[in-house]
């Protein structure tokens, strides 16, 4: 064998080897990360509250850029619905909503980053599930957005509810639970379905826009984001029903109950403020003149609720003053005041028929 041929052979061998490596590693990657996250020791000797106070700022884990939830604006400042919650916590703890450092994380990094103490709070469109709560050493502090698998259709198609989709052609992204949920739902209800499976959500959405499909399905928050890229977004809408539960919420490290309480009640304050009509605009007036004991306790006028969490008496006031109530944040980032134009739906307050329910502050 000539030297040249030997080189050729070794190159071939190397490529084969690399290929096999890729194949083997593909299979085990996902679990390896999970296993790592589980194994990492919870670092909780000092309380997160003290850490944050000492540091003078809150480190918030966010997405690498999902418009409406967390994304940097034109000046590089992080904005969004999830960022607002982080700002609310910073306002409550430090009195300064801008004392937040956002750290973009991938879906795989997020739990490890929280575990290792790299971030104090994770607000990264993370679904609350039993496995995550049980195995990853984290706690969910509430649900700030009730997401779920929805269907986007053309408004002039005459499709108003899920039942109208019997026999329809539906576009979906390949290899997701979305695909399975969809088939399950149609099978369970004896409905007919033609499924076109695309590699990316954008392609699936394009199929709907072009009329190749009658509907596109994905998590509803995703669908709203995809709609903003359409040429005529006003011609498309979501059917009201969702076929899966994807409750998204803030996540903290396990083993620090005080910090969990602070995050939970910062969020509850935003919900209660909306329910009682307290907004960032009228919060000063409300603080001075409201006769509602709920509002008084929330804004620290009476009751001493906030001191119990190790915070200043005006923590609730600081949250509403700087970030606003839940409805304000929703409208600004996701709702009518944003390009996403998401309907409140399940995220309306319980008094309006939705699922958002602020626990009583007393």
């Amino acid at each position: 064998m000539s030297l040249k041929a030997t080189f050729k052979l070794s190159a071939a061998a190397l490529i084969t080897a690399l290929l096999s490596l890729t194949i083997v590693s593909c299979g085990s990657k996902e679990t390896a990360v999970t296993a790592e996250a589980t194994a990492a020791p919870a670092e909780s000797s000092t309380s997160t509250l003290d850490l944050v106070k000492e540091r003078g700022k809150l480190i918030l884990g966010v997405t690498a850029g999902v418009p409406g939830y967390s994304a940097p604006d034109g000046e590089g400042v992080w904005q969004g619905f999830d960022v607002d919650l982080g700002r609310a916590v910073a306002a409550a703890v430090l009195g300064d909503p801008d004392a937040v450092e956002c750290r973009p994380l991938s879906a795989k990094e997020r739990f490890t980053a929280l575990q290792s103490g790299e971030i104090d709070l994770l607000c990264r469109v993370t679904t609350w599930t039993a496995t995550r709560d049980a195995e990853l050493g984290v706690n969910f502090a509430g649900v700030n957005y009730y997401d779920g698998q929805g269907f986007m259709v053309a408004k002039d198609s005459g499709i108003k509810t899920l039942a109208d989709l019997d026999g329809a052609t539906i576009a979906v992204q390949a290899g997701t639970t979305t695909e399975l949920n969809l088939s399950d739902y149609f099978r369970k209800n004896g409905m007919e379905l033609e499924l076109i499976t695309f590699e990316a959500n954008e392609q699936a959405a394009a199929a709907l826009e072009a009329g190749r499909a009658d509907a596109v399905t994905s998590d509803s928050s995703q669908l709203y984001a995809l709609r903003t890229k359409f040429k005529e977004p006003e011609n498309f809408d979501l059917v009201p029903e969702l076929i899966s539960k994807e409750p998204l919420g803030p996540v903290v490290r396990e083993g620090d109950d005080q910090w969990l309480d602070i995050v939970t009640w910062s969020f509850m304050t935003m919900l209660n403020a909306e329910e009682y009509g307290v907004t960032s605009a009228n919060v000063d007036e409300m603080k001075a003149s409201s006769d509602n004991p709920n509002v008084k306790r929330m804004l620290g006028v009476e009751g001493g609720v906030w001191e119990g969490f190790g915070l200043g008496a005006d923590a609730g006031y600081a949250i509403i003053k700087s970030v606003g109530n839940y409805g304000e944040s929703f409208d600004r980032n996701l709702g009518a005041g944003s390009p996403l134009n998401i309907a409140r739906g399940y995220n309306a307050l319980w008094v309006d028929g939705g699922l958002q329910y602020g626990m009583p502050i007393r």
Partner: protein
């Protein structure tokens, strides 16, 4: 044994040892990872319920079927796209190849333009062009379909034609057709033998007569019933629809590969010694007979091995259909099934072996055909074409 030989042997042995060690290392790692997760390696998952649906299935399939069946569905879709693409690419390639050899400048330049334009664009772009540009952006929406009478509908959801439903006497029709075809082939063989023995007798009128039997039978009894496409709310409830995904893959593969086949056809024809053509001319063969009897049979010999390569390319390239949601073996089995089961090694190994088998079988068939041509060339062409007095 001299020094060089010893050195080469050592090198080779070392390389093989290295390779084996590498594979052993990967295999060991894989088995260790798998056993840590308490998963057994094996194809037991093939019997589990798949749970997802597939748009285009050549055999009955529902979500309640198994992962094993998704493999068959994907495989058949791959074969369907491959077979249609191969037939179209061959026809197109032949026509374009002959056009390039034409002495008519318009013809040959059109062919040149076609070849140079299409073969210099990556095949993935061909597929995406037909799907994203032609289907999704040019064709009319479903409700405003382009219509040709009641028979043909073209819209963004595909091309729909009437379907033909077999009736009770379809079996009889199939048998008659089969017998007629066997008869025609048999007469063809007889004719060849007669030519070799130097007997000249017309047999083609009998062949035509045999061909007419099933046609007349079909005309009289109607073994198939034509069902016109019916539009319902979301789709055609009857008729046959070629979905845009399949169409895009097939057209892209056929046009792209036809450029290569046309070049093979052209060069093979040019490779036939000029003396053959001149001899045929001097014997007074008209031009189409020269091509049919002298040039093409000799060119075939050179043509078939490279054309086989192109066929294999088509089979493998149909996996690009994944980019436009065509549910072939790669998309369905190595895509969704892999994702749902997480069985990367088993699924990938099976898909690789399957593509390998399809390719090997294709080469085998083409080689067999090639040999049969070479044999015939030695005997037939020389004897058949010398007029026997």
């Amino acid at each position: 044994m001299n020094k060089t030989k010893i050195r080469n042997l050592t090198l080779q042995a070392g390389l093989i040892a290295l390779l084996l060690a590498l594979f052993a290392y990967f295999g060991f790692n894989y088995i260790q990872n798998i056993s840590q997760r308490n998963i057994e390696i094996g194809y037991g998952f093939m019997d589990d319920t798949a749970g997802f649906s597939i748009s285009q299935t050549l055999i009955p399939y529902t979500e309640a079927d198994t992962f094993g069946r998704t493999f068959v569905v994907g495989l058949l879709n791959t074969l369907l796209a491959s077979v249609i693409s191969i037939i179209l690419a061959t026809l197109l390639g032949f026509v374009v190849g002959l056009m390039r050899l034409s002495s008519n400048k318009l013809m040959s330049n059109t062919a040149l333009f076609y070849v140079e334009l299409l073969r210099n664009i990556p095949p993935l772009l061909h597929v995406l062009f037909w799907y994203q540009v032609v289907f999704l952006n040019v064709l009319p929406p479903f409700k405003e379909s382009f219509k040709l009478g009641e028979w043909l509908y073209i819209n963004v959801r595909g091309i729909t034609i009437p379907s033909f439903v077999p009736q009770e006497n379809a079996v009889a029709f199939h048998i008659i057709t089969f017998i007629a075809i066997c008869g025609i082939i048999y007469l063809g063989i007889i004719k060849k033998q007669m030519v070799l023995r130097g007997v000249h007798k017309r047999l083609w009128p009998w062949q035509v007569l045999l061909l007419l039997v099933p046609v007349v039978y079909a005309w009289l009894t109607g073994p198939y019933r034509m069902v016109l496409p019916q539009i319902t709310k979301f789709k055609f409830s009857s008729g046959m629809t070629m979905r845009p995904e399949l169409f895009s893959v097939v057209v892209a593969m056929a046009t792209y590969t036809s450029t290569y086949i046309s070049e093979i056809v052209r060069s093979s024809i040019l490779a036939v010694p000029k003396g053959q053509l001149e001899a045929a001319k001097s014997l007074g063969f008209p031009s189409y007979r020269r091509l049919q009897l002298i040039i093409v049979p000799q060119a075939m010999r050179t043509m078939i091995p490279p054309v086989t390569n192109q066929y294999l390319n088509i089979i493998k390239n149909t996996s690009l259909g994944m980019a436009v949601a065509y549910p072939d073996l790669t998309a369905v089995f190595a895509g969704t099934t892999l994702n749902q089961t997480g069985r990367a090694l088993e699924v990938m190994a099976l898909v690789m072996v399957t593509y390998l088998s399809i390719s090997l079988v294709t080469s085998l068939l083409m080689n067999w055909y090639n040999r049969s041509i070479i044999d015939r060339k030695g005997d037939l062409i020389s004897k058949e074409d010398i007029p026997v007095e």
